[in-house]
Amino acid sequence: MNSILVLVRKDFSLFLRDRTSIVLTFVVPFALIYLMGQVFGVNSSSPGPSGIPVAVVNQSDNPAAARLVDALKAEKTFKVLTQFVNDDKTTRPLAEEDLRPLMRANNFRFALVIPKDVIRVDGIGIHLKTYSNPRNEIEAQTVIGILQKTIFSRVPELLGQSLQARARAYLGDERLDQFNSSVASAVAGAFGGDTSTIKADMSEGELGLRRLGGDDASAPAQGDAGVFSRIVRVDNVQVAGTGVKSPAATLLVGGWAMQFLLFAVTASATALFSERDQGIFQRVLSGPVSRADILWSKFIYGICLGLLQLVVLFFAGHVLYGIEIGGQLGLLVVVCVFAAAACTSFGMLIAAVSPTPESARGIATFVILLMSAVGGAWFPVSFMPEFIQRFSRLTLVYWSVEGFSQVLWARATLAELLPTLGYLALITALVMGVAIWRFRKGRIFE
């Protein structure tokens, strides 16, 4: 055991003298975690995209159309452009014919035209026109989805006006007026209010939808506060993570930490090649040290380094994003140890199956990136196709990230963690078994 501890200490001494390794193990993942946290708005008070340029051309004289433009301007997702800047720096309202050349010049990728006939007379609904030059599908769907949400949640009278216009087409002005008078009278009789005011509101399309959605039309649309959430009430009961500040940060920190841990322990394992080539194994093995001692020392060093890295990065996550690790530190350490053991066995396997250090680095880079991607280190596994999700469960990254989430998000107990730890232990045992078998067959110690 003394030999193993000496060799572990030797590896740490070498690690601490290698600034590149230290930076790659601690600083780079920390920086990437911070960067990705900013990119994905982790813990932001208003998450989601913001400032997407959208040109708006309002050709309608309907007051609701002007309110729609105001509502879009209030929506943080968009940066609404309504003015065309002439060569002499003077401005004028954007016209529809301006849109194509400006979009081709990449001034913006989306435009909304509110036509004169915004209220359709040939059917129920409103008539809008969009121009798009989507660089990617997700961006296009996001923009169109938020446009729809804003229109229907913030300017619901457009829908009311559409219904009034359709009714007018079927009933005619006189009979519609009688219908509105009857409904206004019935509403005033049942719920109170002034019959003429209610009738005037109905004529303008105000069917009470605004009051369902809130009266402040200028306020940004806020999902559940929208009109449709009032019509269809959904009570969400959160079964895990109640009060946990930052579930996204748990995934972010755990995922990226795992990826860089895999790189770190693989680099450590592939150092076996240089120790062989330098003749150090000859010297060490000619003394009272066995091959098993060397492999055990690498394994223990990998676990210690991984534990250190994961704990440091989760503490960084605590500082950056408020990940709550205090009450779960013990279980977090347990998961970190199992995750680090699995990572280390992977590094040992790479060293065992590779004929040269160069090939080891190549194989490791490919497999680590692949495993990180499908294992959920970069984004949730549930976003992936089903067959990839099945493959995910074969990766140590998946079970490690799952373990981190269980501890930090679901506040799982040790008993609840056991299956995940079991999978990690199984992966470690299998991978390490193959690695040892390959080491015995190979010539790394000769």
Partner: protein
């Protein structure tokens, strides 16, 4: 063990790598206190033999013991008894000299004051005491070689295995290494020194084994080995038209080889050198053309291992 028992004993040692037989029944004994040279061309089996003695590889046949213990079994006794100076600079270049020595010392169970004392002692011995705190990668090749030797001496081995320990070393460092090895040998340490440099073997070794193709071809002291040469003297003279007639007459009386424009004549037993000099007088060749040399280890080495280039 009795004092006369060999410290290292090899009996019919065989080692194969696939279809290649690297050692083919090597047998030799090395007594305590010997400075034994293992001499052979590249690929002769020197390093393979050293690695078997060091317990780095299993034997495929025969018996090999160090201090009475079989090395094939990975005996702790055998491992504690020997120190290996590998052919490579087997050091961690990103650690200091002291850092390296501490690690290797601890692997042999040295700790605390004993370890500190040994580290200081070996650094002093290889003249690196003032560079102990420096990183190995800042050392010259010669300094690294000296430290490579020092690392094998921390646990005071009884048997030191030096596998071509002076490759790429400047003359000053080589001399320092030789002096220190001789000092260690005088103090009682047994040394096995593998090399293909004749002058190293001649200077250092009390007994030499010449190995090639995995077999020991000759074994003994230098004087004993030189008696194996079938001539007592070698005469060299330029291969010119003037000496062509002489060369023609000598061919029947010994071995005549021409290397780089020089004739090398080794008389066969019974051919007196006086006859040779009478021939030169008859042909009117001046004495200054001729140089005479006693048999050398190199001559024996080339005779035994041939002149065909290796590798």
């Amino acid at each position: 063990m009795t004092p006369s028992a060999p410290l290292l004993s090899a009996n019919g040692v065989v080692k194969r790598f696939g279809s290649i037989t690297a050692l083919d029944g090597v047998s030799l004994d090395i007594a305590p206190g010997e400075f034994f040279g293992l001499l052979g061309p590249n690929g002769a089996g020197k390093s393979t033999f050293m690695s078997l003695v060091a317990g780095l590889r299993p034997l495929d046949g025969g018996v090999l013991t160090v201090d009475g213990a079989g090395v094939a079994a990975g005996s702790t006794k055998a491992r504690q008894a020997l120190g290996l100076v590998p052919q490579h600079i087997a050091l961690y270049e990103d650690l200091s000299a002291e850092g390296n020595l501490r690690i290797f010392g601890e692997l042999y169970g040295l700790h605390g004051a004993a370890l500190r004392d040994r580290v200081s002692h070996v650094l002093e011995a290889v003249q690196l005491a003032d560079r102990g705190k420096d990183l190995v990668k800042t050392f010259s090749g010669g300094m690294q070689r000296r430290l490579n030797l020092a690392a094998a001496l921390l646990h005071k081995p009884r048997l030191l295995l030096c596998d071509e320990p002076t490759v790429g070393v400047d003359p000053q460092s080589r001399n320092a290494i030789f002096d220190y090895l001789q000092e260690l040998n005088r103090a009682g340490m047994t040394v096995i020194y593998s090399t293909h440099y004749m002058e190293e073997a001649t200077r250092l070794c009390s007994r030499i084994g010449i190995i090639d193709h995995g077999r020991i071809l000759a074994l003994g002291t230098i004087d004993e080995l030189l008696t194996k040469l079938p001539f007592d003297e070698e005469v060299r003279f330029p291969a010119t038209p003037d000496t062509a007639a002489l060369a023609g007459k000598l061919a029947a009386n010994g071995e005549l080889a021409t290397v780089d424009g020089i004739h090398r004549f080794r008389p066969k037993p019974g051919f007196p050198m006086s006859s040779f000099y009478m021939l030169t007088e008859e042909l009117g060749l001046p004495p200054r053309l001729f140089t005479s040399q006693r048999p050398t280890l190199e001559a024996l080495f080339l005779q035994l291992t041939g002149r065909v280039l290796r590798e």
